[in-house]
């Protein structure tokens, strides 16, 4: 079969599903809403099968796919094409798998929503756009899908647009990611400006050509810095890294399956994907920026893990956890271990999707339908399935042997050690510890019977498990959370499974087995569990001096380090609203409006004179027509004769 056709149909099938759902089903059979999930899940499954085919046949297919030029301008060609490499294939499989499971879960979760069909249309579009990012070979093509993913996340976060908080969160997500996208756009513009001055016909907007051009010295060092900083800014915005992380926790206003999709495979993964797509090829030209990426990643990992520690909303905790895990990936790319980063992206996609779907399960099951930990407790007996699945996800996130998160996180830590990034290694190790604490805190507060309850905690009397439609994806994701790490990338040969299958497939660096580190990280993960258990069961008395101090810290973290406040109060209100907007408003009012008004007034006054003619009297019209003909006649006599 034609590889190009297959890849395009992997991307095109969800897109077709979006069109069919939004135009066909919503337009013609709106009273049969179950057609929408059938359509979207069916196309996703087809895409998944095709992606799997590509994955299995990867060694035998031709990966050289030429791109098609869409727009030809002088010196600048916009072409659409496919960049097929192992990274692409892995992402195709992950995106399609997670989107199938999330859509399946959504059938149960969103069943009673009046906008059921619209929801599935958006999900299909979201999947299609993410697949578009993954296959893009051209920088502008990538940017188009990049923005479309942003749009889809806007639509889905604000899905319940009648809730003010949801529309606010959607707006915030869109605007904050736009700030990063400006950097992306600047990077593209720099590349375009170089391209138009270039003599040979190589289109450096194509990603492989761009990477070759950078290493061949086509760009000056300043240009390389601007391009990589711009792309980094785009990735930071999309992947919610510091300082643009503020949108992701608010994005919890959307439906829970959407959060799962955004956090696992589509939206936030795009940033890491871009970094992993672009930076490994050029890392030797920009060592400072690579170090910057590592610093941003580890710093974000630490601060967001601390924020996750103090939140009470289960989805917010998971959101901060996502930011933290993405920080891990950024850090990994930053010190050159992009294979480990992608491996962590894959395992994270599964266990984070699992955790989010489970939070949806919990909220679905308890009578208050809230995500607040204070409304939960003792759910272990009422929701045993959810509890066990949650335990899988939590162990995976905490990095406990042999869950999948352990392998990927361990790989990142080992790479940090082997690259002599001791500071970053230390930060990430601390983050692992905090991660383990906050995720087991959820388990304690929600499922176990804590003796020490939180302030205002009310244990729900009645709770029930979700139906089988919601449980099947959770079961599959739990299995993935347990086993995917060791299956796809086990550090030693396991008979059927070769060692480092994943790393060698995507062509990344393979590190040696580091048994001590594995033991240390597992101990750290388990110690988080033990500390949490001990803290909630055997409360200790803290000295009051220390307690005051801790309360202050707690206050700072609960207020999200005042970053949101600084952004909104000082930057938005003081700078943009009061200063910039006011200034622009003055210019608009005095200069532009006034000019336009004057022109309008002049036209209006002069039209007062002209409109006397247009009085609807046909004889006047006839008169003026005759005058016109006469003028032509006189001109004919004078000039032509």
């Amino acid at each position: 079969m034609n590889t190009e056709l297959i890849i395009w149909s992997i991307f095109g099938l969800p897109l077709a599903s979006f069109i069919i759902i939004s135009l066909g089903i919503r337009g013609f059979v709106p009273n049969r809403p179950l057609l929408a999930p059938i359509c979207s899940i069916g196309t996703s499954v087809l895409s998944f099968i095709l992606s799997l085919y590509i994955l299995v046949q990867y060694s035998s297919i031709d990966t050289n796919i030429s791109s098609h030029s869409i727009i030809n301008m002088s010196g600048l060609t916009l072409s659409f094409g496919i960049l097929l490499n192992p990274l692409t294939v892995v992402m195709l499989v992950v995106v399609t798998v997670v989107s199938i499971l999330v859509q399946f879960y959504s059938v149960g979760y969103m069943r009673k929503d009046p906008s059921f069909i619209r929801y599935f249309a958006y999900l299909s579009l979201f999947t299609a756009c993410m697949l578009g990012i993954v296959i893009s070979s051209n920088l502008i093509q990538l940017f188009i899908f990049w923005e479309l993913v942003g749009l889809c996340s806007y639509l889905l976060i604000g899905f319940w647009h009648y809730k003010p908080s949801a529309s606010y969160a959607a707006k915030k997500a869109f605007i904050v990611t736009r700030i990063g996208d400006i950097g992306f756009l600047i990077a593209i513009l720099v590349v375009v400006s170089v391209q138009t001055n270039l003599e040979n016909s190589n289109n450096i907007l194509d990603l492989p050509n761009l990477i070759t051009a950078i290493s061949n010295g086509v760009f000056s060092s300043n240009q390389i810095t601007i391009i990589s900083l711009g792309l980094l800014a785009g990735a930071i915005g999309k992947s919610a890294q510091f300082p643009l992380h503020v949108w992701l926790p608010d994005a919890m206003e959307g439906p829970t399956p959407v959060s799962a999709l955004i956090h696992a495979a589509t939206m936030v993964a795009a940033g890491v994907f871009l970094i992993a797509r672009f930076f490994p090829g050029i890392h030797s030209s920009i060592p400072d920026i690579m170090f910057l990426i590592a610093c941003i990643g580890s710093f974000t990992a630490l601060i967001s893990a601390l924020m996750a520690l103090v939140m009470n909303d289960i989805k917010r905790i998971l959101a901060y956890s996502t930011i933290s895990q993405l920080g891990f990936m950024f850090a990994a790319v930053g010190f050159g271990a992009w294979g480990a980063a992608i491996f962590h992206l894959v395992t994270h996609a599964f266990f984070k999707a699992l955790l989010f779907l489970l939070s949806g399960n919990i909220s679905h099951g308890i009578p208050t339908h809230s995500f607040d930990l204070r409304n939960m407790g003792q759910l272990r007996t009422k929701m045993p399935f959810t509890f066990i699945a949650m335990l899988c996800g939590a162990c995976s996130l905490a990095g406990i042997f042999p869950f999948s998160g352990f392998w990927s996180k361990d790989e990142i830590l080992a790479e940090a050690l082997s690259n002599q990034q001791y500071l970053i290694f230390g930060v990430l190790l601390i983050t692992t510890f905090i991660t383990s604490i906050y995720i087991f805190r959820i388990i304690h507060l929600a499922f176990l019977n804590p003796k020490k309850q939180m302030k205002g905690q009310q244990v729900p009397e009645k709770a029930h498990e979700a139906n089988w439609i919601m449980n099947i994806p959770i079961l599959l994701l739990s299995i993935a959370a347990i086993g995917i790490g060791v299956i796809i990338n086990s550090p030693i040969d396991l008979g059927l499974i070769n060692a480092h299958m994943f790393s060698s497939f995507i062509g990344a660096h393979v590190h040696d087995l580091n048994i001590q580190l594995m033991i240390i990280s597992t101990i750290i993960g388990i110690s988080g569990f033990i500390i949490t258990f001990w803290y909630y069961n055997y409360p200790i008395s803290i000295p009051s001096v220390l307690k005051n101090y801790l309360l202050k810290i707690n206050n700072v973290i609960t207020n999200k380090y005042y970053i949101d406040i600084i952004y909104e109060k000082y930057f938005m209100m003081k700078f943009i609203y009061s200063f910039l907007a006011n200034f622009l408003h003055k210019i608009d009012e005095k200069l532009i409006d006034n000019t336009v008004n004057q022109i309008g007034a002049t036209v209006k006054n002069s039209s007062h004179i002209i409109k006397q003619i247009q009085n609807g009297q046909m004889q006047v019209y006839a008169g003026f027509t005759s005058i016109g003909v006469l003028i032509f006649f006189v001109m004919f006599i004078i000039f032509i004769r």
């Binding site: 009297q617 004889q619 006047v620 008169g623 003026f624 005759s626 005058i627 006469l630 006649f633 006189v634 006599i637 004769r641």
Partner: protein, 175 residues
């Protein structure tokens, strides 16, 4: 000799032409000056008759016959019929206010001026002295021209008349 100013040799024809012209202009003024609309329509019929006479003078006997049959016989009857709609036939033909008259004079005076100037200084190129050329019968020539050279427009004109008739009928049909 300039063609345009060539007078016909026969003085009787000149006199008849002059008389008919004068009558035509007078009845045309009658159409626009009489306040009684019925009388205006009668003036219009008179102008049709004088124009038929002028057509005969111009060797267009066929057209003159058509003029009498069509315009005086049919068009005038139509107009007289529509005059029956007027509530006040006696004062049914008023003029507009001065503004319109001024506007029309702006158009008309140049037309008359141009006509007068061209009457004196004609620019029509001199051709052979064809005033003396007598063709035997204009009807024969016309039939030949119409049915050989202009047969397609002739047919189209008939379709035009048919469609005008159908259009008029469908317009005034009571709904």
């Amino acid at each position: 000799m300039i063609l345009g100013t060539t007078m016909d040799s026969n003085p009787v024809i000149n006199i008849v032409f002059f008389m008919l012209s004068l009558m035509t202009i007078i009845v045309a003024f009658g159409v626009i000056r009489s306040t009684n609309i019925f009388r205006a329509a009668l003036f219009l019929m008179c102008s049709f008759i004088t124009i038929a006479g002028l057509l005969i003078l111009l060797n267009a006997e066929f057209l003159a016959a058509i003029q009498i049959i069509l315009n005086i016989g049919a068009v005038s009857v139509l107009i007289l019929f529509s005059i029956l709609l007027s509530k006040n036939v006696e004062k049914g033909n008023p003029s507009n206010q001065f503004k319109y008259q001024f506007l029309s004079l702006v158009v008309i005076i140049p037309i008359i001026l141009i006509a007068c100037i061209s009457f004196i200084h004609t620019w029509i190129p001199d051709t052979t002295n064809s005033t003396t050329t007598i063709y035997p019968s204009s009807i024969v020539e016309m039939a030949r021209t119409m049915l050989q050279r202009y047969v397609l427009p002739f047919e189209i004109a008939s379709i035009l008349l048919l469609s005008a008739m159908i259009g008029a009928l469908s317009l005034i049909r009571k709904r």
